[in-house]
Symmetry: C3
Subunit: 342 residues, 3 copies
């Protein structure tokens, strides 16, 4: 189904191979040799396609689906249409992700330093890397084994990039260390000066930004997002964080492991974020705050105070979610009762 | 008036030529041979300048203007100062736009593949195109007749770009098809992975993003905006949409024809937007919603629910505009009545 | 303390030299010959480090600090630990900024036009400039003495850039004049078309954008920010403005001197902003407004009306701050009193 101009499909694979790869089991072991040609959503899948059911609101689609096989939780198995092979998983979306990776793996690199790339002779280049056309690798930079650098990207002086990273085109990196298996999408800017100055009517005075940016392994950062370097301490993004497009991370911010930071949100200077925090789209954290691990911040929220671990907040200014729903309900009621309080 | 270092003015043109071009009529046919040298705003126009009145709040300026000629609705004609030639139109701003295009047409291309551009030999290049210096055109890409590709822009493998497009510098295109007469401003990023993964404390698992981006003809997309490719279905922008700077369009989003999407707004994954919808600056649409044709979403709104066709909503969370005004009025009254409810 | 791979430290300097440079005085003139090796925050500074105390909430850290010397206001001097040399200033953060600049000055340029840069023969290049690899300098552009242009940056036709500017990599400049000592961070886009068109169901009609962008001297603009050119009048940023990352400035906007515009905020078309205005992160100003000098707009505010000089506003829609606090307090109380008004 994926456009073959853009995607190279592997396979087919048997359901036995798939179940083994994704850590699932077959509802009927006799299905083990059935071959699936591709992955596909429930509504477009055919008899040689593997699909998945995760969100229960798609149960009616599941019941009507013509998919040859489907990854599904055990509790929904009985609602499958006749003849559908079932791959049972307690995390069907995760299992689907792994299966789709089987059919559409990351394309292997063809190691090359392209014509027009400008690599300083003091740069250290690992084995099997790609340097795209027009890319600039400055003095002393280190690029780990199996990493690719996109076209026209700039890797600044003494920057360190780990192994098996995918650095997109038109990225700028300076004053930073990047871990292994990091993906930076096109247009990401990392390591520029933070927004630091002493305000002065006679001319604001720049405070030299003397820290770095440290990006942990297995992070992914979306297109045109920006991460400023620290003012003295570093700006730190922990391992396995997923950051969406057009996100701003200010100087001295520290983000823990596995955080999810959605598009167009921002974190102001010196705020400390724990592990597995989720920050919704267009949300903002003010500076110098502490956000506990597992906290969830709804889209468009504006956080002005510390958030305890595990709390969910909404609104601008952000409040705990129960309070937010009461506020919103009251406001909507007031807005509807024309004339009563007016 | 426009700085001649940056703009090449054509003309002069007679009012007869102008009226014919913009679909208007002259209040006094004897003005048909009067020549106008340039276009200019009401307050700075002189006797050989063509101006326009659209917003009635500029009527006092109109009454004082020294413009030689003015495009104006019939109902305001009587308030014109003596001696001003009147070009009567029921859509004065549109007529002005066409007249200004007459004086300042899009500059014709000087076809060339510039030194330093890297064009794969398998790319298909139409007649009369420009490939800017440092641009990279990857294998199998198609660039239609009369299209220009800006300096240091990357056109990825098998990407298709239509005819007479203006693709700015430092753009990245991958996994996409672009229609005809599309304008992409500097820094636009189209076709990168959507924000798709199965959350997992042991490491979020990437869901391969197997769709494309389809951009309709006559779209315009602003500087540094981002459009992610679909996860399986495509991300689709309909014909004639105008998208401003720093906008985020998530994976699987479909936008109809003629929509207006203002700066720094965002549309989350899988949301379906009808035709001629307007989304205000810094507004956000949550994922998996349906927004009917003609809906209007005010700036900074946060839309959490489907919106019927033609409805106007405001606020975060967004509510219908009448309800929003009542909410706001009540809140402001409560805020002023210090002590009464406190 | 700063990573020597990325920062070149100067010095050491005596406290006498430092006090003279930053316009401060020593609490004890006998300290004048004490040498300081580096600058450092209070909590990590050692005996040969200069630190500073600005925000009183760090007084406890100050009392425990092992810094050899500290820049501090006279009123806090008595709380210093024994043996700490005191540099007395009524603006300690500003004085620290100047001291840090002494240790970590902007690196001097090594004038060069790098291989792979494409400079039109009609461009005018001042003395002592740097043109990075892959940069494109178009016909008629002027680059002032001592200015650097980053790698793969595009300087458009007839653009004027002043002296001693630092233009980062992957910047695009067109239709603009840039003053002296301006810093543009990576990915800034200046001078593209504003968002101007006459809406029309048959196809929106572009209004030619015939103005320029004028950036005053000593401005700093953050990564991936965008400034559109005017529609006829110019877009103007006054001297000494500091603009953060991912900010959008619309066409015809005028901003006065010394304004502070924080990340992800936006100013819509034709709005006029006075001097020394502060616009918080993710805030928005609607179009055609007037904001008086010294006004302060809180983060995430949405300004729909003119703001008088000196006023502070918050909220969306924005209201004066006292009113905002009352609104917020009442809302939070209503949200807590479950059942009373429900």
């Amino acid at each position: 189904m994926a456009d073959p101009r853009f995607f190279n499909r592997q396979g087919p694979f048997t359901l036995g191979e798939i179940a083994a790869r994704v850590g699932a089991s077959l509802s009927n072991p006799l299905d083990s040799d059935r071959r699936m040609l591709d992955v596909s959503p429930l509504d477009t899948a055919g008899g040689d396609h593997l699909s998945f059911l995760d969100n229960p609101r798609y149960l009616p689609t599941f019941e009507q689906s013509k998919a040859g096989a489907c990854i599904v939780a055990a509790k929904h198995a009985r609602r499958a249409p006749t003849g559908m092979a079932l791959v049972i998983s307690d995390r069907p979306y995760r299992a689907y992700a792994l299966a789709a990776q089987l059919y559409y793996p990351v394309e292997p690199l063809v190691p090359a330093v392209h014509a027009g790339a400008r690599v300083d002779p003091t740069a250290r280049l690992g084995a099997g890397i790609v340097i795209g056309p027009g890319a600039v690798i400055e003095a002393g930079a280190t690029i780990g084994r199996g990493t690719s650098i996109g076209a026209n990207t700039i890797v600044g002086r003494n920057v360190v990039i780990g192994e098996e990273c995918r650095i997109g085109p038109l990225v700028v990196l300076s004053h930073c260390e990047i871990g292994d298996q990091v993906t930076l999408h096109p247009g990401v800017k990392i390591g520029q000066d933070g927004f630091g100055f002493a305000p002065d009517p006679a001319g604001h005075v720049k405070v030299p930004q003397l820290g770095r940016v440290i990006i942990g392994s297995r992070c992914e950062i979306g297109a045109n997002s920006t991460v400023d370097r620290g003012a003295g301490p570093d700006t730190v993004i922990g391992e396995g964080c997923w950051i969406d497009n057009l996100v701003q991370i200010g100087h001295n911010v520290t983000v823990g492991r596995g955080c999810i930071i959605v598009a167009q949100s921002g974190i102001a200077g010196s705020t400390r974020v724990g592990d597995f925090v989720a920050l919704g789209a267009q949300g903002g954290l003010a500076g110098h705050l502490t956000v506990g691990s597992g906290a969830q911040i709804a889209a468009q929220s504006g956080v002005m105070h510390d958030i305890p671990a595990g709390e969910t907040v909404c609104g601008s200014p952000a409040v705990p979610i129960k309070q937010y729903f009461r506020q919103t309900a009251i406001l909507q009621r007031l807005g509807q009762k024309k004339g009563t309080q007016e």
